[in-house]
Protein backbone atom coordinates (compact mmCIF):
# COMPACT_ATOMS: atom_id res chain seq x y z
CA UNK A 1 0.00 0.00 0.00
CA UNK A 2 1.35 3.36 -0.94
CA UNK A 3 0.59 6.57 0.82
CA UNK A 4 -1.83 9.26 -0.17
CA UNK A 5 0.45 12.15 -0.85
CA UNK A 6 -2.12 14.29 -2.61
CA UNK A 7 -2.64 17.64 -0.86
CA UNK A 8 -5.70 17.31 1.31
CA UNK A 9 -8.36 19.86 0.48
CA UNK A 10 -11.70 19.43 2.16
CA UNK A 11 -14.86 20.59 0.43
CA UNK A 12 -14.61 24.36 0.05
CA UNK A 13 -16.05 26.83 -2.40
CA UNK A 14 -12.93 26.53 -4.54
CA UNK A 15 -13.33 22.78 -4.74
CA UNK A 16 -16.96 21.87 -5.36
CA UNK A 17 -16.14 18.48 -6.86
CA UNK A 18 -17.48 15.57 -4.80
CA UNK A 19 -14.76 13.55 -3.10
CA UNK A 20 -14.65 9.77 -3.25
CA UNK A 21 -13.25 7.64 -0.45
CA UNK A 22 -12.13 4.00 -0.56
CA UNK A 23 -11.81 2.58 2.96
CA UNK A 24 -9.89 -0.70 3.07
CA UNK A 25 -11.74 -1.82 -0.05
CA UNK A 26 -11.11 -5.27 -1.46
CA UNK A 27 -12.87 -7.40 -4.04
CA UNK A 28 -12.71 -11.16 -4.14
CA UNK A 29 -14.26 -13.46 -6.68
CA UNK A 30 -14.56 -17.18 -5.95
CA UNK A 31 -12.10 -16.81 -3.13
CA UNK A 32 -9.49 -15.11 -5.31
CA UNK A 33 -8.38 -11.62 -4.35
CA UNK A 34 -8.71 -9.46 -7.46
CA UNK A 35 -8.30 -6.00 -5.96
CA UNK A 36 -7.06 -4.35 -2.78
CA UNK A 37 -7.31 -4.04 0.02
CA UNK A 38 -6.78 -0.35 -0.67
CA UNK A 39 -7.63 3.01 0.85
CA UNK A 40 -7.48 6.38 -0.82
CA UNK A 41 -9.47 9.54 -1.35
CA UNK A 42 -10.10 11.24 -4.67
CA UNK A 43 -10.30 14.99 -4.11
CA UNK A 44 -8.84 18.05 -5.71
CA UNK A 45 -9.79 18.88 -9.25
CA UNK A 46 -8.35 15.97 -11.16
CA UNK A 47 -8.87 14.65 -13.70
CA UNK A 48 -7.85 11.38 -12.08
CA UNK A 49 -6.26 8.91 -14.45
CA UNK A 50 -6.24 5.31 -13.27
CA UNK A 51 -3.23 3.66 -14.83
CA UNK A 52 -1.53 0.35 -14.87
CA UNK A 53 -0.86 -2.64 -17.07
CA UNK A 54 -3.60 -4.95 -18.32
CA UNK A 55 -5.18 -6.99 -15.56
CA UNK A 56 -4.05 -4.57 -12.86
CA UNK A 57 -7.66 -4.10 -11.72
CA UNK A 58 -8.33 -0.66 -13.26
CA UNK A 59 -11.78 -1.49 -14.61
CA UNK A 60 -12.68 -3.25 -11.38
CA UNK A 61 -11.71 -0.21 -9.37
CA UNK A 62 -13.81 2.00 -11.63
CA UNK A 63 -16.84 -0.28 -11.28
CA UNK A 64 -16.48 -0.33 -7.50
CA UNK A 65 -16.22 3.45 -7.45
CA UNK A 66 -19.31 3.85 -9.64
CA UNK A 67 -21.24 1.27 -7.65
CA UNK A 68 -21.76 -1.19 -10.49
CA UNK A 69 -20.42 -3.83 -8.13
CA UNK A 70 -20.10 -3.92 -4.37
CA UNK A 71 -16.81 -4.56 -2.59
CA UNK A 72 -16.50 -7.80 -0.68
CA UNK A 73 -14.65 -5.92 2.02
CA UNK A 74 -14.40 -2.26 3.11
CA UNK A 75 -16.49 0.67 2.04
CA UNK A 76 -16.78 3.05 -0.90
CA UNK A 77 -18.30 6.41 0.04
CA UNK A 78 -18.78 9.97 -1.12
CA UNK A 79 -17.78 12.80 1.13
CA UNK A 80 -20.88 14.78 0.39
CA UNK A 81 -24.34 14.99 1.90
CA UNK A 82 -25.90 12.91 -0.85
CA UNK A 83 -24.63 10.58 -3.50
CA UNK A 84 -23.54 12.72 -6.45
CA UNK A 85 -25.03 12.19 -9.88
CA UNK A 86 -22.73 9.96 -11.89
CA UNK A 87 -22.36 8.63 -15.39
CA UNK A 88 -20.05 6.14 -17.00
CA UNK A 89 -18.65 5.68 -20.49
CA UNK A 90 -17.55 2.14 -21.28
CA UNK A 91 -14.80 0.83 -23.50
CA UNK A 92 -17.49 -0.68 -25.71
CA UNK A 93 -20.35 1.83 -25.63
CA UNK A 94 -23.63 0.18 -24.68
CA UNK A 95 -26.24 1.76 -26.93
CA UNK A 96 -29.90 0.89 -27.20
CA UNK A 97 -31.31 -0.48 -30.44
CA UNK A 98 -32.88 2.85 -31.35
CA UNK A 99 -31.87 6.08 -33.03
CA UNK A 100 -29.09 8.23 -31.59
CA UNK A 101 -31.63 10.81 -30.48
CA UNK A 102 -33.88 8.19 -28.88
CA UNK A 103 -30.90 6.92 -26.89
CA UNK A 104 -30.47 10.34 -25.29
CA UNK A 105 -34.19 10.85 -24.76
CA UNK A 106 -34.37 7.45 -23.07
CA UNK A 107 -31.54 8.33 -20.68
CA UNK A 108 -33.22 11.64 -19.86
CA UNK A 109 -36.54 9.90 -19.28
CA UNK A 110 -34.87 7.44 -16.92
CA UNK A 111 -33.29 10.44 -15.21
CA UNK A 112 -36.79 11.85 -14.65
CA UNK A 113 -36.06 14.96 -16.69
CA UNK A 114 -39.37 16.72 -17.35
CA UNK A 115 -40.90 15.48 -20.61
CA UNK A 116 -40.96 18.93 -22.20
CA UNK A 117 -37.23 19.59 -21.92
CA UNK A 118 -35.99 16.14 -22.96
CA UNK A 119 -35.94 16.73 -26.69
CA UNK A 120 -34.25 20.11 -26.32
CA UNK A 121 -31.53 18.76 -24.02
CA UNK A 122 -30.97 15.74 -26.21
CA UNK A 123 -30.58 17.83 -29.36
CA UNK A 124 -28.21 20.20 -27.56
CA UNK A 125 -26.04 17.31 -26.41
CA UNK A 126 -25.97 15.84 -29.94
CA UNK A 127 -24.98 19.22 -31.34
CA UNK A 128 -22.23 19.65 -28.78
CA UNK A 129 -20.64 16.36 -29.81
CA UNK A 130 -21.10 16.96 -33.53
CA UNK A 131 -23.78 14.33 -33.94
CA UNK A 132 -26.68 16.47 -35.15
CA UNK A 133 -26.65 14.88 -38.58
CA UNK A 134 -26.84 11.40 -37.01
CA UNK A 135 -29.83 12.16 -34.79
CA UNK A 136 -32.18 9.84 -36.66
CA UNK A 137 -29.56 7.18 -37.41
CA UNK A 138 -29.87 3.93 -35.48
CA UNK A 139 -27.19 4.12 -32.80
CA UNK A 140 -25.76 0.73 -33.60
CA UNK A 141 -24.94 1.49 -37.22
CA UNK A 142 -22.81 4.51 -36.24
CA UNK A 143 -19.02 4.20 -36.52
CA UNK A 144 -17.01 3.31 -33.42
CA UNK A 145 -15.94 6.93 -32.89
CA UNK A 146 -19.49 8.22 -33.35
CA UNK A 147 -20.81 5.62 -30.95
CA UNK A 148 -18.33 6.67 -28.28
CA UNK A 149 -19.22 10.33 -28.84
CA UNK A 150 -22.88 9.39 -28.51
CA UNK A 151 -22.10 7.70 -25.20
CA UNK A 152 -20.37 10.92 -24.12
CA UNK A 153 -23.30 13.00 -25.31
CA UNK A 154 -25.62 10.76 -23.29
CA UNK A 155 -23.46 11.34 -20.22
CA UNK A 156 -23.37 15.05 -20.98
CA UNK A 157 -27.15 15.31 -21.21
CA UNK A 158 -27.41 13.88 -17.72
CA UNK A 159 -25.04 16.62 -16.38
CA UNK A 160 -23.34 14.36 -13.87
CA UNK A 161 -21.01 15.69 -11.19
CA UNK A 162 -18.83 12.61 -11.63
CA UNK A 163 -17.92 10.94 -14.92
CA UNK A 164 -16.22 7.55 -15.07
CA UNK A 165 -14.56 6.51 -18.31
CA UNK A 166 -13.21 3.00 -18.81
CA UNK A 167 -10.59 2.94 -21.58
CA UNK A 168 -12.89 5.03 -23.76
CA UNK A 169 -10.42 5.35 -26.65
CA UNK A 170 -8.74 1.95 -26.73
CA UNK A 171 -10.74 0.85 -29.78
CA UNK A 172 -10.64 4.17 -31.62
CA UNK A 173 -8.45 5.70 -34.33
CA UNK A 174 -6.41 8.85 -33.56
CA UNK A 175 -9.02 11.32 -34.86
CA UNK A 176 -11.78 9.78 -32.79
CA UNK A 177 -9.44 9.57 -29.80
CA UNK A 178 -8.77 13.27 -30.11
CA UNK A 179 -12.50 14.04 -30.10
CA UNK A 180 -13.01 11.95 -26.99
CA UNK A 181 -10.10 13.66 -25.20
CA UNK A 182 -11.52 17.03 -26.11
CA UNK A 183 -14.86 15.97 -24.70
CA UNK A 184 -13.22 14.84 -21.47
CA UNK A 185 -11.59 18.27 -21.20
CA UNK A 186 -14.97 19.88 -21.68
CA UNK A 187 -16.52 17.81 -18.92
CA UNK A 188 -13.61 18.74 -16.71
CA UNK A 189 -14.02 22.41 -17.41
CA UNK A 190 -17.73 22.20 -16.70
CA UNK A 191 -16.83 21.10 -13.18
CA UNK A 192 -17.23 17.35 -13.46
CA UNK A 193 -15.02 15.00 -11.51
CA UNK A 194 -13.32 12.80 -14.09
CA UNK A 195 -12.12 9.32 -13.21
CA UNK A 196 -10.71 7.58 -16.25
CA UNK A 197 -8.72 4.43 -16.85
CA UNK A 198 -6.13 4.19 -19.57
CA UNK A 199 -3.04 2.18 -20.29
CA UNK A 200 -1.81 4.86 -22.71
CA UNK A 201 0.95 6.95 -21.12
CA UNK A 202 0.71 9.73 -23.68
CA UNK A 203 -3.00 10.11 -23.14
CA UNK A 204 -2.44 10.23 -19.40
CA UNK A 205 0.19 12.94 -19.81
CA UNK A 206 -2.26 15.02 -21.84
CA UNK A 207 -5.20 14.69 -19.45
CA UNK A 208 -4.12 13.81 -15.94
CA UNK A 209 -4.35 16.07 -12.92
CA UNK A 210 -3.49 13.18 -10.63
CA UNK A 211 -2.68 9.54 -11.22
CA UNK A 212 -3.79 6.42 -9.41
CA UNK A 213 -1.38 3.68 -10.36
CA UNK A 214 -2.30 0.03 -10.00
CA UNK A 215 -0.50 -3.19 -10.62
CA UNK A 216 -1.35 -6.71 -9.54
CA UNK A 217 -4.61 -5.54 -7.96
CA UNK A 218 -2.82 -3.13 -5.59
CA UNK A 219 -2.74 0.66 -5.60
CA UNK A 220 0.98 1.36 -5.84
CA UNK A 221 0.93 5.12 -6.04
CA UNK A 222 -1.49 8.05 -5.92
CA UNK A 223 0.25 11.31 -6.80
CA UNK A 224 -0.20 14.53 -8.79
CA UNK A 225 0.48 13.97 -12.47
CA UNK A 226 3.71 15.97 -12.54
CA UNK A 227 5.36 14.01 -9.75
CA UNK A 228 4.07 10.70 -11.13
CA UNK A 229 5.59 11.18 -14.53
CA UNK A 230 8.79 12.88 -13.34
CA UNK A 231 9.53 11.09 -10.11
CA UNK A 232 7.52 7.93 -9.60
CA UNK A 233 8.15 6.49 -6.17
CA UNK A 234 7.11 2.86 -6.57
CA UNK A 235 9.28 0.37 -8.37
CA UNK A 236 6.26 -0.81 -10.47
CA UNK A 237 5.46 2.74 -11.65
CA UNK A 238 9.09 3.40 -12.50
CA UNK A 239 9.18 0.28 -14.61
CA UNK A 240 5.82 1.13 -16.24
CA UNK A 241 6.94 4.60 -17.24
CA UNK A 242 10.21 3.25 -18.48
CA UNK A 243 8.20 1.01 -20.77
CA UNK A 244 9.20 -2.28 -19.22
CA UNK A 245 6.85 -5.24 -19.20
CA UNK A 246 5.52 -5.62 -15.70
CA UNK A 247 2.66 -7.52 -14.17
Amino acid sequence: MTSLNVPLMTGTATNPLPSLRFDDVAFRHQGKLLLGPCSFTLEGTGPTLVMGPNGAGKSLLLRLAHGLISPTQGRVSWLSAECPRQAMVFQQPVLLRRSALANLVHALAVNKTPRKTRLKLALEALARFGLTSCAATPARVLSGGEQQRLALARAWALSPSVLFLDEPTSALDPAATKAVEAAVQEFHERGTRIVMTTHDLHQARRLAGDVLFLSGGKVREHTPAASFFNAPTSREAQAFIAGELIE
Binding site: H66, L68, M88, V94, L96, R97, R98, V110, V141
Partner: protein, 233 residues
Protein backbone atom coordinates in the same frame (compact mmCIF):
# COMPACT_ATOMS: atom_id res chain seq x y z
CA UNK B 1 -65.98 -31.63 -63.30
CA UNK B 2 -64.95 -34.14 -60.69
CA UNK B 3 -61.42 -33.78 -59.50
CA UNK B 4 -59.95 -35.37 -56.42
CA UNK B 5 -56.64 -33.56 -56.40
CA UNK B 6 -56.11 -31.75 -53.08
CA UNK B 7 -54.26 -28.87 -54.68
CA UNK B 8 -57.09 -28.45 -57.16
CA UNK B 9 -59.64 -28.52 -54.32
CA UNK B 10 -57.64 -25.93 -52.37
CA UNK B 11 -57.38 -23.67 -55.41
CA UNK B 12 -61.04 -23.89 -56.32
CA UNK B 13 -62.03 -23.25 -52.68
CA UNK B 14 -59.99 -20.07 -52.66
CA UNK B 15 -60.84 -18.92 -56.17
CA UNK B 16 -64.57 -19.47 -55.71
CA UNK B 17 -64.42 -17.35 -52.53
CA UNK B 18 -66.39 -20.07 -50.84
CA UNK B 19 -68.47 -18.29 -48.17
CA UNK B 20 -68.15 -21.05 -45.61
CA UNK B 21 -64.42 -21.22 -46.13
CA UNK B 22 -64.14 -17.47 -45.80
CA UNK B 23 -66.05 -17.57 -42.53
CA UNK B 24 -63.92 -20.43 -41.17
CA UNK B 25 -60.68 -18.73 -42.17
CA UNK B 26 -61.76 -15.45 -40.61
CA UNK B 27 -62.67 -17.15 -37.36
CA UNK B 28 -59.39 -19.09 -37.32
CA UNK B 29 -57.39 -15.92 -37.74
CA UNK B 30 -59.49 -13.98 -35.23
CA UNK B 31 -59.19 -16.64 -32.56
CA UNK B 32 -55.47 -17.31 -33.01
CA UNK B 33 -54.39 -13.70 -33.41
CA UNK B 34 -56.42 -12.58 -30.42
CA UNK B 35 -55.06 -15.45 -28.35
CA UNK B 36 -51.50 -14.53 -29.29
CA UNK B 37 -52.17 -10.87 -28.53
CA UNK B 38 -53.57 -11.61 -25.08
CA UNK B 39 -50.80 -14.10 -24.38
CA UNK B 40 -48.24 -11.46 -25.39
CA UNK B 41 -49.75 -8.82 -23.10
CA UNK B 42 -49.36 -11.25 -20.18
CA UNK B 43 -46.44 -13.38 -21.34
CA UNK B 44 -43.88 -10.77 -22.36
CA UNK B 45 -43.93 -8.81 -19.07
CA UNK B 46 -43.99 -12.15 -17.24
CA UNK B 47 -40.97 -13.41 -19.16
CA UNK B 48 -39.15 -10.12 -18.62
CA UNK B 49 -39.96 -10.19 -14.91
CA UNK B 50 -38.53 -13.70 -14.54
CA UNK B 51 -35.43 -12.55 -16.42
CA UNK B 52 -35.00 -9.48 -14.20
CA UNK B 53 -35.87 -10.53 -10.68
CA UNK B 54 -34.12 -13.07 -8.48
CA UNK B 55 -36.51 -14.81 -6.14
CA UNK B 56 -36.74 -18.18 -4.42
CA UNK B 57 -38.16 -20.79 -6.76
CA UNK B 58 -37.10 -18.89 -9.86
CA UNK B 59 -35.42 -21.97 -11.30
CA UNK B 60 -38.61 -23.90 -10.76
CA UNK B 61 -40.62 -21.24 -12.59
CA UNK B 62 -38.25 -21.35 -15.56
CA UNK B 63 -38.37 -25.15 -15.73
CA UNK B 64 -42.16 -25.06 -15.46
CA UNK B 65 -42.46 -22.50 -18.26
CA UNK B 66 -40.12 -24.47 -20.50
CA UNK B 67 -41.97 -27.69 -19.80
CA UNK B 68 -45.35 -26.08 -20.40
CA UNK B 69 -44.20 -25.20 -23.93
CA UNK B 70 -44.77 -28.86 -24.68
CA UNK B 71 -48.20 -29.01 -23.07
CA UNK B 72 -50.38 -31.27 -25.24
CA UNK B 73 -53.20 -29.15 -26.67
CA UNK B 74 -55.82 -31.68 -25.69
CA UNK B 75 -54.69 -31.43 -22.05
CA UNK B 76 -54.98 -27.65 -22.21
CA UNK B 77 -58.36 -28.11 -23.83
CA UNK B 78 -59.53 -30.53 -21.18
CA UNK B 79 -58.41 -28.19 -18.38
CA UNK B 80 -60.16 -25.20 -19.90
CA UNK B 81 -63.18 -27.39 -20.62
CA UNK B 82 -63.43 -28.41 -16.97
CA UNK B 83 -62.99 -24.78 -15.88
CA UNK B 84 -65.61 -23.36 -18.22
CA UNK B 85 -68.09 -26.22 -17.99
CA UNK B 86 -71.32 -25.35 -16.19
CA UNK B 87 -70.29 -27.78 -13.50
CA UNK B 88 -66.86 -26.11 -13.27
CA UNK B 89 -65.71 -23.07 -11.29
CA UNK B 90 -66.19 -20.59 -14.17
CA UNK B 91 -69.37 -22.18 -15.50
CA UNK B 92 -71.31 -19.03 -14.66
CA UNK B 93 -69.67 -17.22 -17.54
CA UNK B 94 -71.36 -19.53 -20.03
CA UNK B 95 -68.35 -19.46 -22.36
CA UNK B 96 -68.08 -23.14 -23.26
CA UNK B 97 -68.61 -23.85 -26.96
CA UNK B 98 -68.02 -20.20 -27.90
CA UNK B 99 -65.06 -18.61 -29.72
CA UNK B 100 -64.08 -16.97 -26.42
CA UNK B 101 -63.49 -20.40 -24.93
CA UNK B 102 -61.23 -21.22 -27.88
CA UNK B 103 -59.30 -18.01 -27.33
CA UNK B 104 -58.81 -18.88 -23.67
CA UNK B 105 -57.61 -22.39 -24.48
CA UNK B 106 -55.13 -21.06 -27.03
CA UNK B 107 -53.91 -18.43 -24.57
CA UNK B 108 -53.14 -21.28 -22.18
CA UNK B 109 -51.18 -23.01 -24.94
CA UNK B 110 -49.33 -19.98 -26.24
CA UNK B 111 -48.59 -18.17 -22.97
CA UNK B 112 -45.81 -20.53 -21.83
CA UNK B 113 -44.09 -20.26 -25.23
CA UNK B 114 -44.18 -16.48 -25.16
CA UNK B 115 -43.13 -16.24 -21.52
CA UNK B 116 -40.34 -18.82 -21.72
CA UNK B 117 -38.82 -17.56 -24.97
CA UNK B 118 -39.13 -13.88 -24.07
CA UNK B 119 -37.48 -14.67 -20.72
CA UNK B 120 -34.54 -16.09 -22.64
CA UNK B 121 -34.32 -13.20 -25.11
CA UNK B 122 -34.66 -10.53 -22.43
CA UNK B 123 -32.04 -12.22 -20.27
CA UNK B 124 -29.58 -12.24 -23.17
CA UNK B 125 -30.17 -8.56 -23.78
CA UNK B 126 -29.95 -7.78 -20.09
CA UNK B 127 -26.49 -9.34 -20.05
CA UNK B 128 -25.44 -6.79 -22.65
CA UNK B 129 -27.19 -3.79 -21.08
CA UNK B 130 -26.82 -4.51 -17.37
CA UNK B 131 -23.88 -2.24 -16.52
CA UNK B 132 -25.27 0.66 -18.52
CA UNK B 133 -28.63 0.25 -16.79
CA UNK B 134 -27.09 0.24 -13.33
CA UNK B 135 -24.97 3.22 -14.35
CA UNK B 136 -28.16 5.02 -15.32
CA UNK B 137 -29.52 4.07 -11.91
CA UNK B 138 -32.52 2.28 -13.42
CA UNK B 139 -34.83 0.20 -11.26
CA UNK B 140 -35.68 -3.30 -12.46
CA UNK B 141 -39.18 -2.09 -13.09
CA UNK B 142 -37.86 0.68 -15.32
CA UNK B 143 -35.61 -1.78 -17.16
CA UNK B 144 -38.56 -3.92 -18.22
CA UNK B 145 -40.10 -1.69 -20.90
CA UNK B 146 -36.67 -0.72 -22.25
CA UNK B 147 -35.63 -4.35 -22.59
CA UNK B 148 -38.94 -5.44 -24.13
CA UNK B 149 -38.76 -2.67 -26.70
CA UNK B 150 -35.11 -3.28 -27.54
CA UNK B 151 -35.78 -7.02 -27.89
CA UNK B 152 -38.62 -6.31 -30.31
CA UNK B 153 -37.09 -8.10 -33.29
CA UNK B 154 -36.43 -11.24 -31.31
CA UNK B 155 -39.88 -10.99 -29.75
CA UNK B 156 -41.49 -10.78 -33.17
CA UNK B 157 -40.07 -14.21 -33.91
CA UNK B 158 -41.33 -15.42 -30.55
CA UNK B 159 -44.75 -14.06 -31.44
CA UNK B 160 -44.70 -16.01 -34.68
CA UNK B 161 -43.79 -19.20 -32.84
CA UNK B 162 -46.81 -18.59 -30.63
CA UNK B 163 -49.05 -17.93 -33.60
CA UNK B 164 -47.82 -21.09 -35.28
CA UNK B 165 -48.73 -23.13 -32.24
CA UNK B 166 -52.14 -21.49 -31.92
CA UNK B 167 -53.17 -21.82 -35.54
CA UNK B 168 -51.94 -25.38 -35.91
CA UNK B 169 -53.46 -26.98 -32.84
CA UNK B 170 -56.75 -28.81 -32.97
CA UNK B 171 -57.17 -30.73 -29.72
CA UNK B 172 -57.93 -27.74 -27.51
CA UNK B 173 -60.29 -25.83 -29.81
CA UNK B 174 -62.13 -29.01 -30.69
CA UNK B 175 -62.79 -29.74 -27.05
CA UNK B 176 -63.80 -26.30 -25.81
CA UNK B 177 -65.26 -24.99 -29.07
CA UNK B 178 -67.21 -28.08 -30.05
CA UNK B 179 -66.59 -27.58 -33.79
CA UNK B 180 -70.06 -26.05 -34.19
CA UNK B 181 -70.72 -25.16 -37.79
CA UNK B 182 -70.82 -21.41 -38.32
CA UNK B 183 -69.93 -20.69 -34.70
CA UNK B 184 -66.77 -22.43 -33.56
CA UNK B 185 -65.57 -24.30 -36.62
CA UNK B 186 -62.03 -23.29 -37.51
CA UNK B 187 -59.58 -24.57 -40.11
CA UNK B 188 -58.10 -27.35 -38.02
CA UNK B 189 -61.41 -28.70 -36.72
CA UNK B 190 -62.86 -28.54 -40.21
CA UNK B 191 -59.93 -30.62 -41.42
CA UNK B 192 -60.58 -33.22 -38.73
CA UNK B 193 -64.26 -33.29 -39.65
CA UNK B 194 -63.64 -33.75 -43.36
CA UNK B 195 -61.10 -36.47 -42.62
CA UNK B 196 -63.67 -38.31 -40.52
CA UNK B 197 -66.09 -38.06 -43.41
CA UNK B 198 -63.46 -39.70 -45.56
CA UNK B 199 -63.28 -36.67 -47.83
CA UNK B 200 -59.50 -36.68 -47.82
CA UNK B 201 -58.98 -34.38 -50.83
CA UNK B 202 -61.14 -31.68 -49.22
CA UNK B 203 -59.37 -32.17 -45.87
CA UNK B 204 -55.98 -31.86 -47.51
CA UNK B 205 -57.21 -28.91 -49.57
CA UNK B 206 -58.19 -27.13 -46.36
CA UNK B 207 -54.80 -28.04 -44.96
CA UNK B 208 -53.12 -26.38 -47.91
CA UNK B 209 -55.22 -23.26 -47.41
CA UNK B 210 -54.27 -23.19 -43.71
CA UNK B 211 -50.60 -23.67 -44.49
CA UNK B 212 -50.72 -20.88 -47.06
CA UNK B 213 -52.33 -18.53 -44.53
CA UNK B 214 -49.76 -19.28 -41.87
CA UNK B 215 -47.02 -18.75 -44.44
CA UNK B 216 -48.50 -15.41 -45.44
CA UNK B 217 -48.60 -14.22 -41.85
CA UNK B 218 -45.01 -15.39 -41.35
CA UNK B 219 -43.82 -13.81 -44.57
CA UNK B 220 -45.42 -10.51 -43.63
CA UNK B 221 -43.80 -10.52 -40.21
CA UNK B 222 -40.47 -11.59 -41.69
CA UNK B 223 -40.42 -8.79 -44.23
CA UNK B 224 -41.38 -6.14 -41.67
CA UNK B 225 -38.89 -7.50 -39.15
CA UNK B 226 -36.05 -7.85 -41.62
CA UNK B 227 -36.51 -4.37 -43.07
CA UNK B 228 -36.48 -2.65 -39.69
CA UNK B 229 -33.74 -4.89 -38.37
CA UNK B 230 -31.51 -4.00 -41.28
CA UNK B 231 -32.25 -0.34 -40.69
CA UNK B 232 -31.50 -0.59 -36.96
CA UNK B 233 -28.27 -2.52 -37.48
Amino acid sequence: MENNNALYVALSLVLNLDATLYQIVTLSLQVSLLAVLIAAVIGFPLGAAVALWRFPGRGGVIIALNAMMGLPPVVAGLTVYLLLSRAGPLGEWGLLFTPSAMVIAQVVLVLPILAALSRQKVEELLGEYREQFISLNMSRRRMMPTLLWDARFALLTVLLAGFGRASAEVGAVMMVGGNIEGVTRVMTTAIVLETSKGDLPLALGLGIVLLTLVMLVNAGAYVVGELTRRRMG
